[in-house]
């Protein structure tokens, strides 16, 4: 595998400082290949330097840099993770009502041998794919499909795992006509009452009601560089700050990073990403997610139907900060 080339192509904006180092690494390798010098040690040193620098770059990201990572075209998608984490995946299509929404995928799968239902928004890996997937923005039929497969899980007592990665629920004429608001609202009420263990993971963009519409797990986890917010930083900037360029200010003000949301009690845990973020090593990111899933599922499996519903109700019931008296 031509790893260097691929990594170079995959550099994010914030990784720009690595470009130079990669160039040097390539030069070293060329020299070595030409057989002119023994450079194994130098190559190893350079690789070490790159990794150290990369780690450094990812340590103190601004919220808007995190947004860029969360949204990046190279970021692993829901189907990528499903492929890495689960066995025997059978995709289920359609809401049995209107159509099949390619922006939201769902299916039967096995997690470490256990039958589960998985679902999540699906983004594309190219413009063409993104158009086919509507950039991961589901229509009402997507939310209704999600509920349909959740019901299958419930009927057979299988846990549910949802992957959240969407800019938001789709805003269009058809979406409104077919009841985008009703579809999301109904999911919220029904998710609260599911009698099976339910884990949600924000893997990329957690865009508002479109994210929450499949996100009411007993446990809500978040990848280290994912974001979750009530409105996009750009949207917030243009509405409240009246200047779309102030997206960074909006991102800071709204508290949308995993760390912030853990502090606010919105999420239960942060899943570490490999050095250089998930796209730099999707296999490792998937291993981390799988471990987190298994660890978080374990205690939920011992709860009764009633306890699972109470656990979920109490979790969301507590959310809200206000003054009284």
């Amino acid at each position: 595998m031509s790893k260097d080339k691929k990594e170079k192509r995959n550099l994010l904006a914030i990784e720009k400082p690595l470009e130079d180092l990669y160039q040097k690494l390539e030069d070293l390798k060329k020299l070595a290949e030409a057989g002119k010098m023994e450079l194994t040690e130098e190559v190893r040193q350079m690789e070490k330097r790159i990794e150290a620098k990369r780690k450094d770059l990812f340590t103190n990201l601004t919220p808007i840099q995190t947004v860029q990572i969360a949204r990046h075209l190279y970021r692993p998608t829901t189907l990528d993770y499903i492929g890495y984490i689960f066995e025997d995946f059978v995709e289920l299509h359609g809401d049995r009502n209107f159509s099949d929404d390619p922006a939201l995928v769902s299916g039967l799968a096995k997690l470490a041998g256990r039958s589960v239902v998985v679902l999540g928004q699906q983004k594309g890996k190219s413009t063409k794919e993104n158009i086919a997937r509507n950039f991961g923005m589901a229509n009402p039929e997507g939310y209704r499909k999600a509920l349909r497969v959740m019901r299958i899980a419930e009927r057979y007592g299988r846990p549910i795992i949802s992957f959240i990665d969407t800019p938001g629920a789709y805003c269009g004429i058809g979406a409104e006509e077919r009841g985008q608001a009703e579809a999301i609202a109904k999911n919220l009420r029904e998710m609260a009452e599911l009698t099976v263990p339910f884990i949600s993971i924000v893997t990329g963009e957690g865009g508002s009601g479109g994210a929450l519409g499949i996100g009411m797990g007993n446990r809500v986890l978040m990848l280290e560089f994912a974001i979750y917010s009530v409105i996009s930083p750009e949207g917030c900037a243009s509405i409240l700050f009246r200047d779309a360029k102030r997206a960074n200010d909006a991102a800071v003000a709204m508290k949308i990073t995993a760390k912030d949301l853990l502090e606010l009690g919105i999420i239960d845990d942060i899943i570490k990403e490999p050095a250089g973020a998930a796209h730099n090593n999707p296999e490792q990111a998937a291993v981390n997610i799988k471990n987190a899933l298994i660890n978080n599922l374990e205690p939920l499996l011992t709860l009764s139907h009633r306890e699972l519903i109470a656990d979920r109700y109490n979790k969301f019931r507590k959310m809200g900060i206000f003054e009284e008296g």
Partner: protein, 291 residues
């Protein structure tokens, strides 16, 4: 061709701006005469009040404050407010054009309310119910922690008292100054409605102008019965957002109550003068009271 179109659009935009301005000014009739935002008819404000704030000429339904709504519907002196003293908090230290803390304070003074919803227990024609009335005059009826908490407590109180819940919504959606916490109110209120349903208690949602965003996509759309006032804007994404997304003209009447009725999203569009009678019929149906 293009230039004609753009001039047309410019006029349309100007007209829309005028309408928005006019509407804001006239929805709070202060003077003796009020001009109807929709048809332009000059109305004597006393006449407008006695007509439940509906234009006698074109049936435009002016926005009501929570106080006016309670006065129109609840039996005299029957309404007892609950959780009146919950107030919003600027826990993010949010500062857009104005610090949120200041915005809350100013809104309390301006709207003479502690937040964007008034909740309580009352009676309509002797039928007990838990009533929530959103008030657009407080920060555009936006839903933050307080609205979410008051709606949830109202529902929980109804479960204790074993009575139906009626909520009048009027909301610009989530309160962005509370970040993700405002989003979570959608989950909280919808989960509470699930409990209400488990207890076989009805929820009647009355959607008034405007009901949008996170409010629509949570409790407002979850009525056993969804009623709406004529002409009310009811949507998930606002018309402007949609226009920007799809760059396409929106169909006439799009996202208005009648349009939602046509698309199967609400049960009936009810004129304000018939609202009380309709609610009573529905409450009696649930109560199974013999007449």
């Amino acid at each position: 061709m293009t230039s004609t179109l753009s001039i047309h659009n410019w006029f349309k935009k100007k007209q829309a701006e005028k309408e928005v301005l006019g509407r804001e000014r006239l929805d709070i009739p202060g003077g003796l005469w009020v001009k109807c935002y929709k048809c332009g008819q000059a109305l004597f404000s006393k006449d407008l009040e006695s007509n439940l704030k509906v234009c006698p000429k074109c049936n435009y339904h002016f926005k009501l404050t929570s106080t006016e709504r309670i006065a129109q519907l609840a039996d005299e002196k029957s309404f007892k407010e609950i959780n009146a003293n919950i107030r919003s908090k600027d826990f993010l230290g949010f500062n857009d054009a104005k610090p949120y803390a200041k915005r809350i304070k100013d809104s309390i003074t301006k709207a003479k309310l502690n937040d964007a919803i008034v909740t309580g227990l009352g009676k309509i024609c002797d039928l007990p119910c838990a009533l929530g009335i959103m008030d657009f005059s407080f920060m555009g009826g936006s839903m933050g922690s307080v609205v979410g908490e008051k709606v949830t407590r109202l529902i929980e109180e109804a479960i204790v008292k074993k009575c139906p819940v009626i909520i009048f919504s009027a909301s610009g959606g989530a309160r962005m100054q509370e970040g993700i916490m405002s989003l979570m109110q959608m989950a909280k209120t919808s989960a509470a409605l699930g409990r209400l349903r488990e207890n076989s208690l009805p929820f009647i949602s009355v959607l008034t102008d405007p009901t949008t965003g996170g409010t629509t996509a949570s409790f407002a759309m979850l009525g056993d019965i969804n009623l709406a006032e004529p002409g009310a804007l009811i949507c998930f994404a606002g018309p402007r957002v949609i226009e920007q997304t799809i760059r396409q003209k929106l169909p006439p009447g799009f996202q208005r109550a009648e349009y939602l009725l046509d698309h199967g999203m609400i049960d009936c569009v009810i004129n304000r003068k018939d609202l009380k009678e309709t609610l009573v019929k529905i409450l009696r149906w649930f109560n199974n009271v013999q007449r």
